[in-house]
Symmetry: C2
Subunit: 340 residues, 2 copies
Amino acid sequence: MSATIKSVAEYAGVSIKTVSRVINNEGTVKPDTLAKVQQAIDALDYRPNKAARDLAGRDNYVLGYVYDNPNAYYILAMQNGILKECRANGYELLIHPCDATNANIIDELVNMVNSARLAGLILSPPLSEMPDVLQAMDEKGIQYVRVLSGDKAPDDKPCVLVDDYQAARQITEHLINQGHQRIAFIAGEKQHHSTTERERGFYQALADRGIHPDPDLVVEGTYSFGTGVQSIQQLLALPEPPTALFACNDEIAAGALFGARMQGVDVPEALAIAGFENSPFSTQTFPPLTTASQPTAQIAQRATSSLIRSLQARKRKAENQTVPADIFVPELIVRESTSR
Amino acid sequence: MSATIKSVAEYAGVSIKTVSRVINNEGTVKPDTLAKVQQAIDALDYRPNKAARDLAGRDNYVLGYVYDNPNAYYILAMQNGILKECRANGYELLIHPCDATNANIIDELVNMVNSARLAGLILSPPLSEMPDVLQAMDEKGIQYVRVLSGDKAPDDKPCVLVDDYQAARQITEHLINQGHQRIAFIAGEKQHHSTTERERGFYQALADRGIHPDPDLVVEGTYSFGTGVQSIQQLLALPEPPTALFACNDEIAAGALFGARMQGVDVPEALAIAGFENSPFSTQTFPPLTTASQPTAQIAQRATSSLIRSLQARKRKAENQTVPADIFVPELIVRESTSR
DNA sequence: CATCATAATGACAACGCTGTCATTTTACTC
DNA sequence: GAGTAAAATGACAGCGTTGTCATTATGATG
């Protein structure tokens, strides 16, 4: 049988409430009492019973990560980052894959939060970008933190930003610096902010260098290999085909690379290709892909820490001082697919 | 405030214990009482408070999934399968990525199980194949289910088997049927049972068809793209190079494909390549890879259901009747990388 | 050194459920 | 229809914490 707060209290010669104060860092414990209790905790290898804590306390020490994103690497990196922060703060993580296109998604989330008594939610795209979802959370008083694409926070609720705009600009600039003028762009789902942000960065970089964008060179699709294959065929069939391509993610880029080579077009000699995301795909093509890398686990950790801070502030009824949102700019990674 | 067992009891005009019986399916409730209670539960949208259940009951309704596997798709598929079964049975899932090579891995797991009061553990390779880990779990009385590579259970403790041997045989046979005699094999980490099982299947298929294996055609490496690239160079440099390759997984196969094309070797014309796993890589190469597909989510679900059954049996002190382990044989998927 | 404010600690009732055991109802027998 | 076994239900005490409020120790002040 594992130790309880009672056995620790007896061992240390204090009341259970004092032990409770120690394990909750309430601060109002004399240093030597604290030392005694700490020693008792160590000696008995005591760990608070989460069920009892959750039952007695107001909140549950459980966060939820809700996601709908086909990218396994992204999800796992998010999970890892969140878990790291959760463990450091005595929280647990409940994961909840879901289908964002499901009409009942809001009910599903609210039900989940209630039934698992979650303290808060971590939302990543596309859920973090769905106004109706966010509104429902606000109405139900469910705490959350969002990971968002953007260069400034849309409101004062906690979020962590990934500046796709800036990174896309850098990628496009890189292509321009390689001497390219006719640069194509393949977009993913327009509902994803990341797509529009990357597209915005693409256009801005062109504008910065006085290049007039050619509408024929911009194609829309989904974040998939197939989109890359099809789009590049279409692009290469143009009377004046592009000499460079910026694909909205690595999977599209890999598809485009595949499609180009199928048609006998050499990469990077006849066509430079850049992706986005630094997914494992990007190193497992020939040639490997130039891309942009976002520190997903770190982003997740920061988001989680921001959520936890906000929960704790709310608990002590402290004024929830608005901390400026963290911004991460994905870093350009140059590989052979864009070399001269 | 959400409904409690008490409010349901009042609404239904029964005692809280009767409500408890209903939500726990104890069976000893009269049909019309049960109906009344059910109706009350629906009307009040009642959900049992997990913390209270865990605290009052003996067990925690939480399972743990511990994994150390670089394959994100595999992990996510496992998670999804486990979650599905957990939700169907009122369990929650705690995920715990870890490093199996860590010397303290056993302490880490035991600590985790104790501190989160887990009811049981789901283990996938490589952890499910580490005798010292399993022994520690047995000693500490921690319940677990393993997902294992093999065609028969190594003992009578719960496990789900993935018959890599059989699938590898089928892949090799497929290559032989395509007319190949000089078939190379690139192995992954030898510590993984899946590797040795696949290798065993490879040799068996050769033997079945009277083909004498050539040691030069068998190369060892890791489950990585790089291994594929390097190994194929080595193999193609042989005085009598192979005409077909069976790579231990898709990532190696993709690397080999990459390497072969770099050297100007056509696939499948000059070299047929088969992988294993049916990972997304396998459709995103040119040409797409022949491979074997295991229904990972289904396997995970079955494993979880087996664990839950065994937990419930233990709870009712029922004789834990040994159910024969489920065996899944990955299915051959033929694509262009091995076509004539 | 008495007085008071404040810091530190403790006693005890919840929290919502399950387990145990007692009690009531039902069904069956003669 | 009385007697009995079995089925159905209920009363109540915990489970291990936290929150509330009461109590005691400490230090500052005049």
